[in-house]
């Protein structure tokens, strides 16, 4: 029987790691993620998890040690956030390029400067081009589930790419919620043992990993990463189905909420989806035709799902906690890319919201919605809006 426990998002992530039985874990403390390695150390110290826990001297070494372990042929896990993830940046590309299915839990946190420990998605969004699969969790249960799912997808032979699962700093990492912990036997069945055919450092069958790729080969190697990421779309769907059959919880690339007759669909990721659904309920009561959509998988980007969603609405309003200076939000760019060649397409507006832990209120959602309504009636004035700014201190 699955166990129910009230726990923080970080504990849910540590439990997921424990259930996945990685053989090597290397991690370094950073707020808001620190509890993940702490909890895992405890599991290892108590003999509840049979793993080598490497207490590295930096996140750069954390991911480097995971690369070494994964290349040697074992399941490897790490956790970090924000500055820690940014410090790993260089090695993230290498992990993907070497096709090592490392899994990482991220407590999504803002990036300096100013230094800020609170939630937004700038950390993981900034790693979108590294070749890592990216999941975003709405609540602590999803954090646990999407880490297990990340292992399964990453290790699939059609994929063999690393994967990260993000869950919002403090809103999830430090907030307790009831979480169902799946049975170990079921998880064992679901994940199986990791026995790589492509990456090992075994003296009995010596291979060379991490070679120099000349122009004659480099592009093909990169294409293979692209192809693997494309394959991941199908694999993720299959894994979601299998997960639902085994554990009874349903996941989708994009989860829609009251979108069928919606004129405006507000799209977001992570824990904001919870607030947004409540907001939609409220507006529905007032007779406003608004729906919500949550992007669960950000890489590979759910292009087809966004196209299908776009067919239903007149305006897509993206609410996102990240910014690419000089362009706009990253999710906005991905949604626009998905629709660019559609014959008929809705208006797409971008709302930068909740950066660095700024509370996202119904008032802010109202503001975004009224801008969307105005654009629907009178046409687009601007594309990117910053919502919830304190104009008085600007």
């Amino acid at each position: 029987m699955p166990m129910r426990k009230v726990m923080k998002g970080n504990e849910a992530a540590a439990w997921a790691a424990k259930l996945a039985k990685p053989k090597v874990i290397a991690a370094f403390p950073i707020t808001p993620s620190t509890l993940v390695p702490e909890k895992i150390s405890e599991f290892v110290a108590n003999g509840e998890l049979d793993a080598e826990f490497i207490k590295v001297e930096s996140e750069h070494s954390a991911i480097s040690a995971c690369v070494g372990a994964s290349a040697a042929g074992v399941r490897a896990f790490t956790a970090t956030a924000s500055q820690g993830l940014a410090l790993m940046h260089e090695i993230l590309f290498i992990a993907a390029g070497m096709r090592l299915p490392i899994v990482m839990a991220i407590g999504n946190r803002a990036l300096s400067a100013p230094i800020n420990i609170w939630n937004d998605w700038q950390d993981t969004i900034s790693e979108r081009d590294t070749g890592w699969i990216q999941f975003y969790a709405e609540n602590n249960q999803e954090a646990l589930d999407l880490i297990l799912i990340a292992f399964k997808v990453a290790e699939d032979e059609r994929v063999l790419l690393p994967a990260m699962t993000g869950f919002d700093a403090f809103i999830l990492t430090h907030t307790v919620e009831p979480v169902e912990i799946p049975d170990q036997e079921l998880v064992d069945e679901f994940l199986g043992e990791y026995k790589p055919k492509h990456a090992y450092l075994d003296p009995k069958r010596p291979i060379t990993q991490g070679t120099l790729g000349f122009p004659a080969h480099y592009m093909e190697a990169r294409y293979k990463v692209w192809e693997a990421m494309e394959n991941a779309r199908q694999v993720i769907k299959e894994v979601f189905e299998e997960f639902e059959k085994k554990f009874g919880r349903k996941y989708q690339m994009v989860e829609e909420y009251k979108t069928d007759d919606a004129e405006i669909v507000m799209i977001t990721m992570g824990s904001l989806a919870g607030t947004l659904k409540e907001f939609v309920d409220k507006k529905r009561e007032e007779g406003v035709k608004v729906g919500a959509a949550k992007i669960t998988v950000y890489r590979p980007f759910p292009i087809e799902e966004i196209r299908a969603l776009a067919k239903k609405a007149k305006v897509l309003a993206i609410l996102e906690k990240d910014i690419s200076f000089g362009s706009g939000g990253a999710v906005f760019a991905d949604v626009a890319r998905s629709l660019i060649n559609e014959k008929e397409k809705p208006i797409v507006l971008d709302f930068i919201i909740g950066l660095g832990g700024r509370d996202v209120t119904f008032g802010q959602l109202e503001e975004a919605l009224s801008i969307a309504e105005k654009a629907m009636k009178e046409g687009v004035e601007e594309e990117v809006y910053w919502i919830g700014l304190r104009k008085e201190i600007l």
Partner: protein, 315 residues
């Protein structure tokens, strides 16, 4: 007729066909060190192949593993410039869980070790991973075209320490990573040189047989980087020892008071002047117009020996 066991194993892990320059001193380190490692693994575990290599970006990595070729007959991984020690830590941890017997060997250049990789090295040593880390010291960033590192000797020309009206070349004393490694109180630290292959071989073997981390800093001349003719590689390295420029020593458990020296003149008087070492190398050519710089280099070498506990005389 009795057949004598060769003093160095005939097994090879560094295959011909790699792209190192003719006369590359560091290529000799690759070959000898892997041979010594294999002999140690054979003696310790009954399996000469019981090791894997983690390699930092640098000349020896670039010349040995160009897809689809490899010079390596052992399991080998390269990840980045600054993290060979961290990668080796991960490989070692995985090996423990896989139940493999053996030891991990890490290679980094002086740049990948003394500079950008120093933190990862310190972490690996401090955590006591079962890894032998070999810093192959050619005293500059050769792979990117001869820029100075913190291991470049005083006075040397490099592309980022060019001599000129306001410069004598490299203007800082050489940093000795072996001593930094020893400060971690790890079981074994040594320096070695390609000019004494038996000493090098013995030290790598010893390091490989120890349980826990070991660090070796090995001198390997670079033909274009030192501006030497390819046939002079070994001669130059030998002069470094004979003139007192390159100390050969071993330190166990960080016990610097009981440091052991090899080929150290009993009376502390080196017979050959460092000028004999310098004059063979284009990188020091400009110093002969600047005798005060040669004097300064001598003072620095004496100071280095003093740190090692020896008063020396340089002719």
């Amino acid at each position: 007729m009795a057949v004598r066991k060769p003093p160095i194993t005939t097994r090879e892990y560094w295959a011909p066909g790699h792209a190192a320059c003719a006369g590359c001193g560091c290529a000799i380190i690759m070959r000898l060190a892997t041979k010594a490692f294999s002999e140690a693994m054979e003696e310790k575990y009954g399996d000469p192949d019981a090791f894997a290599i983690a390699h930092a970006t640098g000349c020896m990595e670039v010349v040995s593993a160009v897809f689809p070729y490899t010079a390596w007959k052992a399991p080998w991984i390269h990840v980045a410039f600054e993290n060979a020690a961290a990668v080796a830590s991960g490989v070692e941890a995985a090996w423990k869980k896989l139940g493999y017997k053996g030891k991990i060997l890490a290679f980094g250049g002086d740049g990948g070790t003394a500079d950008i990789g120093l933190q990862a090295l310190s972490g690996m040593l401090e955590r006591r991973h079962n890894v032998v880390y070999i810093m192959y010291d050619n005293e500059a960033y050769m792979n990117t075209g001869i820029q100075r590192s913190s291991s470049t000797p005083y006075g040397a020309w490099t592309t980022t320490s060019p001599p000129g009206k306001y410069s004598i070349g490299e203007d800082k004393p050489k940093k000795w990573v072996a001593l930094i490694a020893a400060a971690h109180q790890i079981p074994y630290v040594a320096t070695a040189s390609i000019a004494d292959p038996y000493d090098l071989y013995r030290k790598v073997k010893k390091a490989a047989k120890i349980d826990g981390p070991a660090f070796l800093q090995i001198h390997g001349p670079c033909v274009p980087g030192w501006r030497i003719p390819p046939e002079k590689t070994v001669e130059v390295a030998k002069l470094a020892i004979e003139t007192g420029v390159w100390p050969l020593f071993e330190i166990e458990n960080g016990d610097i008071r009981n440091i052991k020296f090899q080929r150290f003149p009993k009376d502390g008087k080196f017979k050959k002047p460092i000028e004999e070492y310098l004059k063979l190398q284009g990188r020091f050519k400009h110093l002969f117009k600047r005798p005060e710089a040669i004097q300064e280099l001598k003072e620095q070498i004496k100071a280095m020996w003093k740190v090692l506990g020896k008063e020396v005389e340089l002719p």
